[in-house]
């Protein structure tokens, strides 16, 4: 509050502020009544079970109950922090996630714009529909296909041999250095089309008269995209960006379990596959919960930071 004197410059007291709050609240009862069911829902289904996070601070195995499991405070976290294989899996997770962010984030945007720019209705619909179909393949099936194709007698090698790029077939699934690329590119193939849906929904709301005006002003197609289409997608791109950044410590367990083998493990083991092996297969729930809790906390920090950055780029408007 400014110190400028005047008959209105008195700071309201706590009491007055609370009163004002409730007055406003009551006045907005219609709108509030739309939000409160959501609040109640979240309370029941998300907040009540949160006590399960205490498992991270206990020694909890299959036969335990929350009140009988012994309390071990930060021991689980200590074990994890000292585990060098855990940190190796963090490196792999971040490596793959960054790669997916660098390439996989842009692809759906470009693809969506390309689809949007098509004028032939039929072709447009066809491409759209086909593009999201890979999303429905399960990793077990897709992984099986990749194993087939990357075999020394498989498609991939046949192609490279025919094109003269290599003279001897190699199974790249056995090569640790190629794993990050295999994981990233196969994931993009699977999910890029699905990722265009949200962007296309945003683009559907763009007023076509803007394009007409731009055309008249002499802008070519690329300029039109740059100055009209993309700015309109800024919010959705920002939202996706902050969510993707907050998910950097996550990874696709199904994909990992299928593509990981004895030879590429050093580059393929990610956080959740490691936790799966160390925790779940040993009936050790506390291990998994502790890692999950740590990852959640880091994710929220990433989210808030990413949000602050995108807010700056969006004229101080937050997507949250």
């Amino acid at each position: 509050m400014s110190k400028a004197s005047g008959y209105m410059s008195e700071k309201p007291t706590m009491g007055q502020r609370f009163k004002q709050f409730f007055v406003d609240f009551a006045r907005q009862w219609e709108i509030q009544s739309m939000i409160w069911p959501g609040v109640i829902f979240m309370f029941i289904f998300c907040y009540i079970p949160i006590y399960g996070l205490t498992i991270a601070f206990k020694r909890y195995t299959v036969i335990d109950r929350l009140d009988t499991a012994p309390w071990v405070a930060f021991e689980n976290f200590e074990i994890i922090m000292k585990d060098k294989f855990f940190w190796e899996s963090v490196v792999n997770t971040l490596g793959i996630s960054f790669l997916k962010l660098a390439i996989g984030f842009i692809v759906p945007i470009i693809l969506a714009i390309m689809i949007y720019e098509v004028s032939l209705r039929g072709f447009k619909k066809f491409v759209q529909t086909i593009s999201y179909l890979p999303h429905f393949l399960s990793w077990i099936v897709l992984g099986g296909m990749l194993i087939n194709w990357f075999a020394t007698t498989g498609l991939f090698n046949e192609l490279l041999l025919a094109l003269g790029i290599i003279d001897e077939p190699r199974n790249i699934l056995l090569d640790p250095d190629k794993y990050w690329w295999i994981a990233t590119l196969s994931d993009i193939w699977k999910e890029a089309g699905w990722g265009t849906i949200l962007y296309l929904a945003v683009m559907a709301k763009i007023d076509p008269t803007y394009y007409e005006a731009a055309k008249i002003d002499g802008a070519n197609r690329l300029k039109q995209i740059w100055h009209i289409t993309i700015p309109n997608m800024k919010l959705m791109i920002s939202l996706n960006l902050i969510l993707t950044i907050s998910g950097l410590l996550g990874s696709n367990l199904d994909q990992t379990l299928v593509l990981m083998n004895s030879q590429n493990r050093e580059k393929a083991e990610v956080i959740n596959s490691y936790v799966y092996r160390m925790g779940m297969t040993q009936g050790d729930f506390s291990y998994a919960t502790a890692v999950g809790l740590g990852v959640s906390i880091v994710s929220v920090i990433l989210l808030v930071s990413a949000n602050a950055v995108t807010k700056r780029l969006n004229d101080n408007q937050s997507v949250l």
Binding site: Y47, D83, V258, S262, R265, R277, M280, Q282
Partner: protein
Amino acid sequence: MGTARKNKTKILLMLLMAVVLVLSACSKEKSGGAGLNTSIEDRYTLDPNTPAWKLDTKESTTLTWYVNADWWNSDYGNDVVTKKIKEDLNLDITFITGDDTKLNTFFAGDDMPDLISVFDSNSSIVQKADTWALPLNDLAEKYDPYFNQVAAQDTLNWFQLADGKTYGYPNYSNTQADYEQGTIPAKTAFVIRKDVYDALGQPDFSTPEQFTATLQAIKAQFPELIPFGFNSIGTGTGSLGDVFQDFIGVPLTDADGNHYNRNLDEDYLTWISTLNGAYRGGLISDDSFADDGTAFEEKVKSGKYATMMLDGTPQQGGNLQIFASNNEGKEYIAIDGPQSTVGNSPTLNQSGITGWMISFITNSNIDPAKSIQLFTYLLSEEGQMLMNYGIEGETYEINAEGKVALMPEVKEMQLNNADQFKKEYRFGEFMFFGHDRHKTLSDDAFPDSIKQMQEWGKGKLVPHFILENINPDQGTAEARSLSAINTQWNTTLVSLIRSKDDATFNSVLEEYKQFLNDNNWDAIVSIYNEKMARNKEKLGL
């Protein structure tokens, strides 16, 4: 936004958390049965020579049975096997399936099913069964003494906990006697395609030099086949780890009867080096290391491998049969294959005394009497025959050779309509407390494709009891180290075989040895020895 509002948000959030914590402190009520105090006074009187289920006058009971597996078929009452159980015991069973998480919800929610079956003998569920299950000894004494006549004493001893009582009972538990009688069929073999075998004049594979030379000959004569194959490696060792060690007879313990690291055995490493040589010579395909289970099965079905070190012959039986039926004269046959370079005999392994599915009667069981009767029933000859072949005179009969033969219409359905067969008859699938000796009663128990392989394995099986259940307890530092070591061995084994030259081979091996030292190996070995000593006691050795 002013700090005032920010504080308000924080306060409200904290209030929210507080409410949640208070609510979560609410305790649950206990439920469950009367346990060992259930009375059978008005139902029947004990007779040690008659199974109690024949005496029980209780009208009907329903029990819930939890099986800790996704794949368990929870059907009940619609097929011959369960229909008869229902009839004989006046019993309805509701099956629940799930995984470890689901299992834990029962413990956490204090809502235990009546019966539980699990598959991991090393988990705390089995180790701490005295905290949540009823002792079978007491149950037998109180409700069904006949149980002691059908349960194997060795097995009961094996599963005894610190308080001297046994809580769980397994299936496919093979005792020393079983091994000696030779009723257990072998499940591993070194196989070769018959056409390849004949074309090369029935060659020898027994020494490393002969092994390599023969594979080279195969490659020359059959370029479209991969000379040597093996089970998919995954996170384990496929058929090149302990399976191979058993094949060439690496000792189970050292001279003093203590733990012996078979992975570092000289004989075994000589053979691994041989495989490495074969790999360098293009006799082993890289794809074999990347294949998953499905890809391996496809190779079996299409006969892609000229020879294979095959583990789990019954599991591959169907695939081998498919290949055999479509390729007359080329079917896979078992031969002697690689032998020990120091004169050891094979020590093939099969299901041990631990079995692979252990069943318990829980503390909250609503009718322990009926439950122990069920166990007795399933363990008895009658129950076993029912589960494997059905009802004599109705679904099977004893033929002239004294073997069990399914009735023609049943066999017909088994061959041509597998799904219908499962629904109506369900033989061989309902295998609580099953045992291999019942499988050998019939010629139909195993597909033709593996019969010769089982024949080959006769006399080569050796019990590995002393090595069972010796892993460190779950959740301990040693258990975690062991997990890391096993993962490392998984990579090491394959890297050894794929080494480009001898220098690489040796450095990979050194790396593994170093890894053992860096990861608590000594502590793990002392735990091994401790548990092995306990095993010896239980086995009376």
